[in-house]
């Protein structure tokens, strides 16, 4: 029977064999990918002697950027932060730092050393996150390459290869080899809806051969890309055996992780500030003159026709501020615990988003044992609740290192760790890490955990939008309600990313600027 394939079908087949890189390259060639737009920094005009008061709720990245930009244009800003700390989820933990988790006060017991820090929130900056990079440039924050992907790291799946960790290099090389062989056979038969021309067919056969490193008979028999069993320098390199294809398919690595680092946000190279992500927060704080009130917990938000009133508690006193505008980055799931007069549909849209349960655990390792295993940075993946292990790319060959011992993407895994005491979290992280690196626990000096669903005044990360919610609620929340603007990464398509927070803040500021300019220059300013 003749089987016909559409072009999309064909692209899918290419994708199965080559992953998203192959699709990306093919799509690029077909002109299907949009160009990256220019940086949408709000151009906020100076307002001269016109007094405009802006109340900014939350001193995370979006609140700080708003204060910084607006005060420079002459706005009178006050930042109101519930926690004792400035920075929100941009949190770098070092020796002696307090971890403000509800019910479990922790102290970070890392050694006092500039390399020994843990970015508990954002930890990497992709090259197209232009707002973040803009501020790094503006505040002269030194950046370095962060290693986010490493083929020498491992994938470990309890349901495949008898639970044995497999080098990502071997897995990917063999997966592509096997699939290229199948692709080669399919192309050879040329059973497509619109059959390939002879020339295209020949090119495609070569593509499959090169892509999978097939032999002269178009069969995959292993590749040096997987690394040699031994030799390869002054002795002839002997190829590693080929992984069992059935085991390879049983592993869930191909479902998601295998192509994860090909996403635009995760693909190498990515960057990190030298010495900790909170250098960005320090940069803002150095430059902001507006008051940033800490330990100031918002009690009520009242929208008025011509402004917004905010009541907050601070130092045992209740205070009220009135602003012409309010920019609100309080986590959406905490707003239903704060008095407000939001219209029903606005409150309902805010309430429709579930809070996330991301959790990170960091371990101080006595020795950088992974470097002796050829691993310099990157991520190992596992199907266990810890999900990932990150190897620090900074401080290479120094004595100790802070390893990320868990980073849970699945809410159920985050909640698993939330339910454990801090000590039990470290124990669980070690036990699971042992499946990837036997003897792992012997290297652990101490650890610290940050389950965002339990962090004081935050209680969640990141806002869990669905396609359906984006359709029904996003525009409602992106746009202001009267003079009140919701913002932060929670009001973006990049929830959980600083770039989402900054894009959202700049979107709100552009709107405020437009309204204020219209007020200043329009007839209403006279009347």
């Amino acid at each position: 029977m003749q089987k016909n394939y559409s072009r999309r079908h064909f692209l899918n087949l290419v994708g199965a064999a080559g992953g998203s890189t192959a699709i990306y390259q093919t799509s690029l060639a077909l002109g299907l990918l949009p160009e990256t737009g220019p940086l949408a920094l709000a151009d906020i005009q100076k307002i001269g002697g016109h007094r405009k008061k802006v109340l900014i709720l939350g001193a995370g990245i979006s609140g700080l950027a708003s204060a910084y930009e607006l005060e420079r244009a002459g706005y009178d800003c006050t930042v109101i932060e519930a926690s004792k700390r400035i920075g929100g989820r941009n949190l770098t933990l070092r020796s002696g730092d307090h971890v403000d988790e509800l019910g479990y006060d922790q102290v970070c017991n890392f050694d006092d050393d500039p390399n020994l820090y843990f970015n508990a929130g954002p930890a990497r900056i992709p090259g197209h996150h232009k707002h973040v990079l803009h501020y790094c440039r503006e505040f002269k924050i030194p950046l370095e390459t962060y290693v986010n992907d490493n083929r020498n790291a491992y994938t470990q799946d309890s349901k495949a290869f008898a639970g044995r960790p497999v080098r990502i290099r071997e897995y990917m090389t063999d997966a592509r080899g096997f699939l290229s062989e199948l692709l080669h056979k399919a192309v050879n038969k040329n059973d497509f809806e619109q059959p390939l021309s002879d020339e295209d067919k020949e090119r495609m056969l070569q593509f499959a051969t090169v892509y999978g490193d097939l032999d002269t008979n178009a069969i995959y028999k292993g590749s040096s890309r997987a690394g040699f069993k031994h030799g390869g320098f002054v002795e002839h390199g002997e190829l590693k055996g080929v992984l069992d294809f059935s085991e390879l398919l049983k592993s869930n690595f191909w479902r998601y992780r295998m192509h994860w680092a090909e996403g635009e946000d995760q693909a190498m190279p990515v960057l990190q500030p030298v010495g900790g992500m909170d250098n960005i927060i320090k940069g803002f704080v150095r430059h902001i003159r507006s008051p940033i009130l800490t330990n100031a917990q918002v009690q009520s938000i009242t929208l008025r026709q011509d402004g917004v009133d905010v009541v907050y508690n601070q130092n045992g006193k209740r205070n009220k501020l009135s602003g012409d505008f309010c920019m609100n980055s309080i986590p959406h799931h905490l707003l239903s615990g704060i008095y407000n007069n939001f219209p029903k549909d606005y409150a309902a849209a805010l309430a429709s988003i579930e809070r996330g349960h991301l959790c990170k655990i960091a371990l101080q390792m006595k020795e950088r044992f992974w470097e002796r295993d050829n691993i310099y940075g990157g991520i190992s993946w596992t199907t266990q609740p810890i999900e990932q292990i990150w190897y620090p790319p900074h401080g290479i060959h120094s004595e100790k290192g802070i390893m990320l011992g868990a980073y849970t993407f699945r809410p159920e895994n985050g909640r698993f760790f939330e339910r454990l005491s801090p000590d039990d979290r470290i124990k669980a992280a070690i036990e699971q890490g042992e499946k990837i690196h036997p003897g792992y626990g012997d290297y652990v000096d101490c650890g610290v955990s940050v389950p965002w669903g339990r962090m004081n005044h935050i209680m969640g990360c990141n806002a869990r939008w669905s396609e359906e919610l984006f359709r029904t609620s996003f525009d409602r929340l992106l746009n202001p309600e009267g003079r009140h603007y919701m913002m932060g990464d929670q009001i973006s398509y990049h929830s959980g990313w600083q770039e989402g927070a900054l894009s959202s803040a700049h979107h709100a500021m552009a709107d405020i600027n437009e309204r204020v300019q219209a007020e200043i220059s329009g007839p209403t300013a006279l009347g």
């Binding site: 330990n295 929208l303 009133d309 130092n315 006193k317 905490l334 239903s336 615990g337 007069n341 339910r419």
Partner: protein, 199 residues
């Protein structure tokens, strides 16, 4: 457009002592409850009941059962409190007021009233509670929270620990609610009861 700006918080504020601000992070301003965190309204809750429950969390009678996920979230808060802290928290909780929570459950209150007959002896005709019997007031508690707790009592998630005598009593009482509809109905009835605690 923005008339009726409700700010109960402005009218009768009780500013939490700094060391207990954390209660309001989940339970909301004035402890008015936050359904998104699944933290119930506890404003005006009887001090003796708050104390007993904090001790129950501390002992692991609550918040240790594998199905009690919300209880597990709460439990570390209680374990971090000393006995003196517990007294102070209970006094603070009792001192704070907020308006009664909105009704969210649609049950048959008339049928619920019949079920409620067996609750009257301990919780009182108007759900006002009886301290002498260790039974708390039921009015002013979020209906969704009552439902969760009745289900927990019924299936032994709550009230099944050795030593938790009040819990065991309530667990036995909850067995008359043989299906979820009965729970919705009785809670719908409770939410019609006049609130004594706000007087």
């Amino acid at each position: 457009m923005f008339c009726g700006a409700s700010s109960h918080a402005d009218e009768s504020p009780v500013i939490p002592p700094d060391e207990y601000v954390f209660c309001t992070v989940c339970h909301g301003v004035q402890l008015k409850g936050n359904p998104l965190i699944e933290a119930p309204r506890i404003s005006r809750m009887e001090a003796w009941y708050v104390e007993r429950q904090l001790h129950a969390f501390k002992k692991g009678w609550r918040g240790r059962h594998e199905r009690d996920l919300n209880g597990m979230e709460m439990r570390p808060m209680a374990t971090s409190l000393s006995n003196d802290d517990i007294d102070a928290v209970a006094a603070y909780v009792r001192s704070v007021d907020s308006e009664r929570p909105a009704k969210t459950v649609q049950g048959n209150a008339a049928i619920g009233r019949a079920h409620y007959a067996s609750c009257v002896e301990c919780h009182g005709e108007n759900g006002e509670g009886k301290e002498a019997l260790g039974a708390p007031s039921l009015t002013g508690v979020n209906d969704w929270y009552l439902i969760t707790q009745l289900k927990n009592f019924r299936d032994g998630t709550r009230g099944g620990s050795a030593g938790d005598n009040y819990g065991a009593q309530m667990r036995a009482a909850a067995q008359i609610l043989t299906n979820d509809q009965a729970i919705f109905d009785v809670v719908s009835y409770v939410s019609t009861l006049p609130s004594k605690q706000e007087k």
